[in-house]
C-alpha cells in the first residue's frame, strides 16, 4: 500500500528534495519538510516506539508535539519529538527506551506480569529486606528514563536576544491572524508567533477543502505576512508566561525574550483521546492527527478507517479522509446524529455508514490495529448483544477538546468547566491577558472571526488606558464539542488514560480507592500527567474519572496548576551565551608578561605569585624575603576606593565604622572596622582625612561595592549632607613595601618623604612621575611602605619606573600568597578567613577598635555592648616547633583537647622570618584563656602540638613600619 498521497493544497513537504535517513539501521526516503513520524509513516513504518512501562507498540497520535511515545534518539540528542521535528539528511534514528527494536522489544515480556504491577506497585515492594533494595533499585533504574545520554557530547549554546512589542498574539490560526490584523490596523506594534513552520493552523487541516474559507485564508495569510506593524515568527514557541508579560520565544535560531504590554492567547484547543480497550494500538489516532498527516505531509496512515466521534469535527475528519482516498468503513457517533447538521448530511451523501449512539468497545490487533468491536451504547456501556466487528487499520478519535491554556494558568488566569461545551473555558483573566477562538469556546468560523475582532478591540482599548471589559461568552458556541464521558469500561482493562505513563482506567480508580482522592495526590501517586506531554491528553479524562468517583462536579474537583514550560525547552537555548564578568587591573598585561600565576578574587584576577607553578612554594618564600629584607611591590588596584565629601562626611564615617573618624587629623589615616547591626565583622579598610569635609576610604576587594552601598544607604536614609564617588575602577593602587622603599620612591615624587613631614599612617597628595597621586603609609605587611593611589592611565608607567628605580636594591613583585604570609607575621586578620559569619571584634582582640563610651552611636554599638561581656571565642596566635613539616597543619584543622573540639586553625603558613610554622586559631572559651599548648588534629588523625604566642610574631613594636630608627634608612 502506498502511504504517500497526491499533492495536497497546503502541504509542507518539498517533493523535489528527497531526504535519506536510517531508522534502526534500515534505510528510508522521505521529503524535505517531512517530520520524523510522517517520514516513517510514509514508508509504512507504523510502529514508532514502545510505551514507558509495558513496552507496548505505539504509533503516531496527535502530530501536535504531544506524541510522547514517538520519541527518537539521534547521535546528537535524546527524546527527539518525531511528530514535529523535521527530518534532516542522513539522520541516524533509533527508538527511545526499547530493548531491541520497535518490532521486537525484549522488555515487552513485562506485559505478562502486568497484573502484578498495579498503580504505585513500586511503593509496595522491593524495600524488604533492606539490603536487597539496591539490587532491585538498580534493575528499576535501568528501565527508567527514555532516551540515553552520551556524556561526551560537548556544550551547545544557542543565541539569545531581547525584543519588545505592544501586543503578542500566540497562535497564527484563524483567530490569531484575525486578532493580530485588527490590532495592527489600530497602529499597535504586534508580534505574532506560531509553533508550526507555516501559519494557518486548523484552517489548513480541518477546513482544507472548505470553499467558504478559501478567500478568507488567502487574505489573512497575505495580510499578516506583509503588514508593517506585524512581526511574524513561525516555528516559534511561546514556552511560558512570566511576570509583567515577559515571554521567552523558542525559535530555531535561539531564544527571543519578548517583553510585551499585553498578550492575546489564540492557541486553540488540544484534542483528547477516547478510552477503550487497546486504544493505544498503532493506528488509533486523534482525528486532527490524521488530518494533519493528510494535509501537511500528504501521508495516509491507513486504508480503512473507523471514526469515533461526538462532534461535527468527527464528520469533517471523515470527509477529509474520504477525500484523501481512505475508505471510511463507518462513523460511530456516541450521540444522536440530529445535532450534527449539514456535516452529517454530507457524510451520508458520500454513502458512509453512520452508527448513532454507538461506541467502540475494543480495538484488536497484534502490534497494529486490525479490527474493532463496535456496539450500541446503553447508558455508558456497550450492549454487546448487538456488537459488530469492523476490519480497520485506522481509528480516528474525535470526542473532545481541552483549551491550550497553560500560559493563562501561569499568568494567574482561572478557567471553569462549561456544561454546554463540556470544556474548560476562561473565566478570570489578569490585566493584559486576552483570549479568543476555540480556546474561548468559539468554534464556528463566524464565531471565531467575531471573537477575534472583539478581543483585538478590547486589547487596543486596554493599551490606550481605556476601561473596557467585554463579555467573554458572547461568541461561544451553543453545542458541545466534547463528550462528558468518552470512556468505555472493559473487564480486561488496557484502556489507557495516559499514554506517556501507561496508566489504565483501573490504575486511577485504584489510586482513588487507596485514598489519593484529590487531583494533586492522584497525580503524584499515579504519575498521571507527569510524563513528557505533561498531561496534555490525560489530565481532562483523569479529572472526569476523579469527579465521578467523588460524586463532585468537574469544577469542584479542580485541576492541577500548569507550570512552565508549555513544551520542553533545550538547555542549550536556556543557557545562551556565557557571561562571566571578569575584572582586570590596569597592570594585568605586565603581570602576564612576568610569569604571574593568577587567582580569582571575587570578579577580579590577581597575581597569586610570580614564577613557575612547579616552584610555587619557593617563589612565594622568595617574595616574602624580598619584602622583609629589601623591597617588594604589589598591585592592590582591586581595593575599594571611595571619596567621601561634605559637611556631614565625618559624621557619616562615625556612624558606619566602629572607630571615631571625626577626631582624625588632616593628612592622617586610621584603620576602619565595619560591623553589621548584630556586631559581626563584615569589612575593614583605611580612612584618610584630606580636609575637614573630605575623606578617602578604602575597602577590601570582595566587599568594595557593598561598602559603597552601605555608606550610600546612610547618606540617603539619615539625610546626611555628603557626596560619595566610587573610584574603585578609575584609580589603580600599588603598594611599595620594604626598608628600601623610601630611598627608591623619594627621587620620583614631589612629596617630601621625611619622617617628620610624612609620618607612619600619614597620607599625602602630590606628584609621582608627573602624575597626581596620593601616598599612604600603611602597615598591613609590616614594613616601611607606601600605598600609591594613582590614575588608571598612570599605573603601568609608574610601576615600570619603580621597577627600574628599585633594580639596584633588588626590588621584586609579590603576589597575594606572599602578602598573606607577611600580614600573618604581623598578626593581621583576613575577614572571611580568620572571621566567619558570627565573629565580632572582641573575638579577634579588637576591643581597642570599639569605643563604646566615647561615641554616641555607630552601627552595631548596642550589640557590641552586649557581646563585650559574653565573649565565647578568642583568636590566638600559635607556632609549631622548629623543623616541623611545613604543610602538615592546614587551615580549618581542629584544635582538640581531651577529645573535645575546642577550636579551629584559621590561618597557618611557614614563616621565613620566624623560621617555623606560625598561625592563628579561634579557640572556644574557657579553653582560650588558659595557656596550655594546643593540639591540632591533622589529616591522618595525628595531633600536632603547637605553642601559643602573643601577636604579632614579627617586629612587635612595629619599628620597621614606623621607621623611627635611622638605621632602617641606611
Amino acid at each position: 500500500m502506498n502511504y504517500r498521497l497526491e499533492p495536497q493544497p497546503y502541504e509542507w513537504i518539498s517533493r523535489d528534495k528527497t531526504i535519506r535517513f536510517t531508522f534502526e539501521g534500515r534505510e528510508f526516503q522521505a521529503f524535505e519538510g517531512d517530520s520524523i513520524s510522517s517520514g516513517l509513516l510514509a514508508n509504512g513504518q507504523l510502529i514508532l516506539g514502545r510505551s514507558f512501562k509495558y513496552h507496548r507498540p505505539r504509533g503516531a497520535l496527535t502530530l501536535a508535539n504531544h506524541d510522547a511515545n514517538a520519541l527518537f534518539q539521534t547521535e546528537a540528542e535524546p527524546n527527539v519529538r518525531g511528530d514535529v521535528v523535521a527530518l534532516e539528511p542522513s539522520m541516524k534514528l533509533t527508538a527511545c527506551n526499547v530493548n531491541g527494536t520497535v518490532a521486537k522489544d525484549k522488555d515487552a515480556k513485562i506485559e505478562y506480569v502486568a497484573r502484578f504491577l498495579p498503580v504505585g506497585f513500586y511503593y509496595k515492594t522491593f524495600h524488604k529486606p533492606k539490603k536487597f533494595f539496591p539490587f532491585w533499585e538498580k534493575m528499576i533504574r535501568s528501565k527508567a528514563g527514555l532516551g540515553h545520554v552520551n556524556t561526551q557530547w560537548d556544550a551547545q549554546r544557542q543565541s539569545k536576544s531581547y525584543a519588545f512589542c505592544d501586543l503578542l498574539v500566540i497562535g497564527a490560526g484563524l483567530s490569531g491572524m484575525q486578532s493580530a490584523l485588527a490590532a495592527a490596523d489600530a497602529q499597535l506594534n504586534v508580534v505574532l508567533v506560531d509553533e508550526n513552520p507555516f501559519i494557518g493552523g486548523s484552517l489548513d487541516y480541518q477546513l482544507a477543502h472548505e470553499p467558504r474559507v478559501k478567500a478568507l485564508r488567502e487574505s489573512l495569510k497575505e495580510s499578516v505576512s506583509t503588514h508593517p506593524n506585524i512581526r511574524l515568527y513561525t516555528s516559534t514557541l511561546a514556552v511560558g508566561w512570566y511576570t509583567d508579560h515577559y515571554l521567552p520565544l523558542l525559535t530555531p535560531h535561539g531564544m527571543i525574550k519578548l517583553r510585551s504590554r499585553a498578550v492575546i492567547h489564540a492557541t486553540g484547543v488540544m484534542e483528547q483521546p477516547a478510552v477503550f480497550r487497546n486504544n493505544d494500538l498503532p493506528g488509533v489516532m486523534m482525528a486532527s492527527g490524521i488530518q494533519r498527516l493528510i494535509s501537511r505531509y500528504a501521508v495516509k496512515p491507513g486504508q480503512n478507517a473507523l471514526v469515533l466521534t461526538s462532534n461535527v469535527e468527527g464528520y469533517r475528519a471523515a470527509l477529509d479522509m474520504f477525500e484523501a482516498g481512505i475508505a471510511v468503513v463507518a462513523v460511530v457517533d456516541m450521540e444522536s446524529i440530529a445535532q450534527r447538521g449539514e456535516w452529517a448530511e454530507r457524510v451520508l451523501a458520500k454513502g458512509i455508514r453512520v452508527l448513532e449512539k454507538h461506541g467502540i468497545y475494543e480495538a484488536i490487533g497484534r502490534q497494529t490495529l486490525q479490527r474493532a468491536i463496535v456496539a450500541p451504547l446503553s447508558g455508558e456501556s456497550c450492549d454487546l448483544s448487538k456488537k459488530e466487528i469492523f476490519d480497520c487499520d485506522l481509528i480516528a478519535m474525535s470526542v473532545g477538546w481541552v483549551p491550550a491554556a497553560q500560559l493563562i494558568y501561569q499568568a494567574g488566569g482561572k478557567l471553569s468547566y462549561d456544561d454546554t461545551l463540556q470544556q474548560f473555558v476562561p473565566e478570570f483573566l489578569p490585566k493584559g491577558i486576552f483570549v479568543c477562538g476555540r480556546l474561548n469556546g468559539a468554534f464556528t468560523v463566524d464565531q471565531r472571526i467575531a471573537d477575534a475582532k472583539a478581543v483585538a478591540q478590547e486589547a487596543v482599548a486596554f493599551l490606550k488606558g481605556q476601561k473596557e471589559s467585554r463579555d467573554l461568552t458572547q461568541y461561544r458556541d451553543t453545542t458541545a464539542h466534547s463528550h462528558p464521558w468518552p470512556i468505555i469500561e472493559h473487564p480486561k482493562g488496557k484502556n489507557f488514560i495516559d499514554f506517556d505513563e501507561d496508566l489504565q482506567l483501573k490504575d486511577l480508580k485504584n489510586a482513588i480507592l487507596e485514598g489519593f482522592d484529590n487531583i494533586e495526590l492522584l497525580k503524584r501517586f499515579s504519575t498521571v500527567g507527569m510524563g513528557p506531554s505533561q498531561g496534555k491528553h490525560s489530565n481532562m479524562n483523569a479529572i472526569r474519572v476523579l469527579a465521578r468517583s467523588q460524586g463532585l462536579g468537574i469544577n469542584a474537583t479542580g485541576s492541577t496548576t500548569a507550570r512552565p514550560f508549555f513544551h520542553p525547552v533545550p538547555i542549550s537555548a536556556l543557557a545562551g551565551r556565557r557571561f562571566r564578568p571578569e575584572r582586570r587591573s590596569p597592570l594585568h598585561a605586565w603581570h602576564e608578561a612576568h610569569q604571574a600565576k593568577f587567582m580569582e578574587a571575587g570578579v577580579w584576577l590577581r597575581p597569586e605569585y610570580y614564577g613557575a607553578s612547579s616552584a610555587r612554594l619557593d617563589c612565594i618564600q622568595e617574595e616574602v624575603e624580598a619584602v622583609r629584607s629589601r623591597l617588594g611591590i604589589i598591585d592592590v588596584s582591586t581595593l575599594g576606593k571611595i571619596e567621601v565629601m561634605g559637611p556631614d562626611a565625618a559624621r557619616l564615617l562615625d556612624l558606619a565604622y566602629t572607630m571615631k573618624m571625626s577626631t582624625l587629623k588632616q593628612g592622617m589615616t586610621r584603620y576602619a572596622l565595619m560591623v553589621d547591626d548584630s556586631g559581626v565583622i563584615i569589612d575593614d579598610g583605611i580612612v584618610g582625612r584630606l580636609a575637614s569635609d573630605q575623606f578617602y576610604v578604602t575597602a577590601t576587594t570582595s566587599h568594595a561595592d557593598a561598602t559603597y552601598k552601605i555608606l550610600s544607604k546612610y547618606v540617603q536614609f539619615c539625610g546626611l549632607n555628603v557626596r560619595l564617588v566610587n573610584r574603585t575602577g578609575s584609580l589603580a593602587a600599588i603598594n611599595l613595601a620594604g626598608s628600601e622603599s623610601r630611598k627608591v620612591l623619594a627621587p620620583l615624587t614631589s612629596i617630601s618623604l621625611s619622617e617628620s613631614n610624612f609620618p607612619y599612617l600619614g597620607m599625602r597628595e602630590g606628584l609621582l612621575c608627573g602624575y597626581p597621586v596620593r601616598l599612604i603609609r600603611v602597615g598591613f605587611v609590616g614594613e616601611l611602605g607606601y600605598e600609591i593611589h594613582l590614575p588608571h592611565n598612570a599605573a603601568l608607567e609608574v610601576w615600570q619606573r619603580l621597577m627600574v628605580a628599585g633594580q639596584a636594591v633588588g626590588i621584586k613583585p609579590f603576589g597575594v600568597e606572599a602578602q598573606r604570609i607577611l600580614r600573618l607575621e604581623k598578626g593581621h586578620i583576613i575577614i572571611g578567613q580568620d572571621t566567619d559569619g558570627l565573629t565580632h571584634p572582641y573575638e579577634v582582640g579588637m576591643s581597642w577598635a570599639v569605643p563604646l563610651n566615647s561615641k554616641a552611636w555607630f552601627t552595631g554599638k548596642p550589640s557590641l555592648a552586649r557581646l563585650k561581656s559574653s565573649c565565647q571565642r578568642q583568636l590566638v596566635g600559635f607556632k609549631l616547633a622548629q623543623g616541623a613539616p611545613k604543610n602538615l597543619v592546614k587551615e580549618c584543622h581542629l584544635v582538640i583537647d581531651n577529645n573535645e573540639m575546642v577550636g579551629r586553625v584559621t590561618s597557618v603558613a611557614y614563616s621565613p622570618t620566624q623560621q617555623c610554622v606560625i598561625g592563628l586559631v579561634m579557640l572556644d572559651q574557657p579553653y582560650a584563656d588558659t595557656s596550655n599548648p594546643i593540639h591540632i588534629r591533622v589529616d591522618d588523625g595525628r595531633l600536632i602540638r603547637g605553642e601559643r604566642c602573643s601577636l604579632p610574631f614579627y617586629d612587635p613594636e612595629g619599628i620597621r613600619q614606623t621607621s623611627a630608627v635611622e638605621e632602617v634608612l641606611v
Partner: protein
C-alpha cells in the same frame, strides 16, 4: 521480595487499605493540634502515637497532604553540616531515614548515592575541610577529596568548568542520599492514621485563641477546636501562624525554585552540589535530572516561577556537565523557603504556653523530616525541648547565641 505483588496479582478486587482517611467532620476537642500536613507534621503525629501513645491528635492541612515544600524540594538527605549541633541533629535524621521503609512497610526509594560539594575557590575549599573535620570528629563520614578522586567518581563532570573558576576539590559525604519525598509524607501519614490520628485535608487555620499567654483553641474554616497544645509545622506559612499568637520571629519567606529535565536513562548515580555556582543536581528514580539553585533575591509569598532562574541554572550546569545542553527542561516549580539569619531551624517551646514551633527550614527541611518529627513529639510530650533541638530554640536570637551554620557564608543544599 515482591510477595505482596504476587498475592495482589491473584486477587479479584483491588482491596488495598487506604493510605489516608476519607474526609470526616472535626471533633470539638483534641489533646494536640498539628498545623501542617507535610512531612514534618505527619512525622510528629506518627511519633506522638508510636513513641508516646498520644493519639487524640488532629493534623490540619490547608491543601493536600505533602502539597507544600514536602513535594517541592531537592529530596537530598545528608548530615555534612558545619556546626556540631547541626551535624548531630541531621545525623540522627539520616539514621532514622535508613529504617523508615521497614517502619512504614513502604518503599520510599531511600537511595544512598554519595554527595559531592564542589569547591571552586581556596576559601570554599577551606570551608569544606572545616565541615569534613567537624563531621569526622562526630563520626559522620565526610572527607575532602582531590581532583583525581573526583575525576574517577564523577567522570562525566568537566572539572575545568570551561576554563573559568575550575573545581579545586570537593567535600565527599558518603551517606548522602535521595528519597522519594511524597512517599515519606504518605508513609508517616498512613502510620499516624493507622494509630488513630485524624488527618484533615482542605482545613485551613484562621486563628489561634490564647488566654493569658496560653493556647486554648484553634479556629478553622470548618469550625473551632479547643485544645491545649498546638504545634506549627507549616514552613513557608510560619509567619502567618506566629502572627496569630503575637509572636515575632526572624523568619522571612523567599521562593526557592527547581526544575527537572525529561527523563533519560540513568547515568548519574551521585549527588553534585556547587557552593559558588549555587547549583545542585541529582537524577531521580524516574530518570529526570532534578536541578536547582539558591533562593530568589527578594521576599515573596508565592510559588511563581521566573525565567531568569532556569537561564542562570542552565548556564551554570553547562560548566560542570557540557553534555546536558542536549537535554530539555520539562517543568519548573517553586517552594516557599522560611529562611533564618543563621541558616538553622527554630524549634521547640515558645513564650506562649502550649504553642510549639517547628520552622525556619529554609533549604534544609526535607532532610530533617524524621528527626524533627521525633524530637518535636518528645518535646510536646515532655513539654520541654529535646536536647538535640535546644540549640535551635527561638530565644537564641535574644541571647545573641546564634548557630554557626552560616560558616564562611556559602549556602549548601
Amino acid at each position: 521480595m515482591p510477595w505482596q505483588l504476587l498475592k495482589y496479582g491473584f486477587k479479584r478486587s483491588h482491596d488495598e487499605p487506604r493510605f489516608f482517611p476519607e474526609a470526616r467532620p472535626l471533633k470539638k476537642q483534641y489533646d494536640v493540634v498539628i498545623i501542617g500536613g507535610g512531612g514534618h507534621g505527619m512525622a510528629c503525629a506518627y511519633y506522638l502515637a508510636k513513641d508516646h501513645g498520644i493519639t487524640d491528635v488532629a493534623v490540619l492541612e490547608q491543601g493536600y497532604i505533602g502539597g507544600g515544600n514536602t513535594g517541592r524540594n531537592t529530596t537530598i538527605v545528608r548530615s555534612n553540616y558545619l556546626t556540631p549541633e547541626g551535624v548531630k541533629f541531621y545525623d540522627t535524621s539520616v539514621k532514622l531515614f535508613e529504617d523508615l521503609a521497614d517502619d512504614f512497610d513502604l518503599n520510599i526509594f531511600y537511595s544512598t548515592r554519595g554527595h559531592f560539594t564542589l569547591a571552586h575557590t581556596d576559601s570554599a575549599l577551606r570551608t569544606m575541610r572545616w565541615r569534613a573535620e567537624v563531621n569526622k570528629h562526630l563520626g559522620v563520614a565526610s572527607e575532602v577529596v582531590d581532583l583525581q578522586t573526583l575525576a574517577e567518581e564523577v567522570p562525566y563532570m568537566d572539572l575545568t568548568c570551561a576554563g573559568h573558576s575550575p573545581v579545586l576539590g570537593a567535600l565527599y559525604h558518603a551517606p548522602g542520599a535521595v528519597a522519594r519525598h511524597d512517599a515519606v509524607a504518605w508513609g508517616y501519614a498512613r502510620g499516624a492514621y493507622n494509630r488513630g490520628v485524624e488527618l484533615h485535608q482542605k482545613t485551613r487555620v484562621l486563628n489561634i485563641r490564647t488566654e493569658k499567654d496560653e493556647v486554648c483553641g484553634v479556629e478553622t474554616d470548618r469550625g473551632f477546636i479547643s485544645c491545649r497544645k498546638v504545634i506549627s509545622m507549616v514552613a513557608g506559612s510560619t509567619p502567618r501562624i506566629t502572627e496569630m499568637v503575637g509572636l515575632s520571629t526572624p523568619i522571612e519567606i523567599y521562593p526557592l525554585q527547581a526544575c527537572v529535565t525529561e527523563p533519560v536513562k540513568p547515568f548519574m548515580d551521585t549527588i553534585v552540589v556547587s557552593g559558588s555556582l549555587h547549583v545542585y543536581v541529582s537524577q531521580s528514580s524516574r530518570g529526570e535530572l532534578v536541578m536547582g539553585a539558591s533562593v530568589d533575591p527578594s521576599v515573596l509569598h508565592s510559588t511563581r516561577s521566573s525565567f531568569d532562574f532556569t537561564e542562570g541554572l542552565a548556564d551554570k550546569m553547562l560548566d560542570l556537565f557540557p553534555f546536558v545542553s542536549r537535554l530539555n527542561v520539562m517543568r519548573q516549580w517553586a517552594g516557599m523557603s522560611d529562611i533564618t539569619p543563621d541558616f538553622a531551624p527554630i524549634m521547640g517551646t515558645t513564650p506562649i504556653k502550649g504553642f510549639y514551633l517547628d520552622a525556619g527550614w529554609g533549604t534544609w527541611g526535607f532532610k530533617a523530616t524524621p528527626v524533627s518529627g521525633k524530637t518535636m513529639a518528645w518535646t510536646l510530650a515532655q513539654e520541654r525541648n529535646h536536647e538535640l533541638i535546644e540549640p535551635f530554640r527561638l530565644s537564641r536570637f535574644a541571647d545573641f547565641d546564634l548557630v554557626g551554620e552560616k560558616g564562611a557564608a556559602s549556602v549548601g543544599h
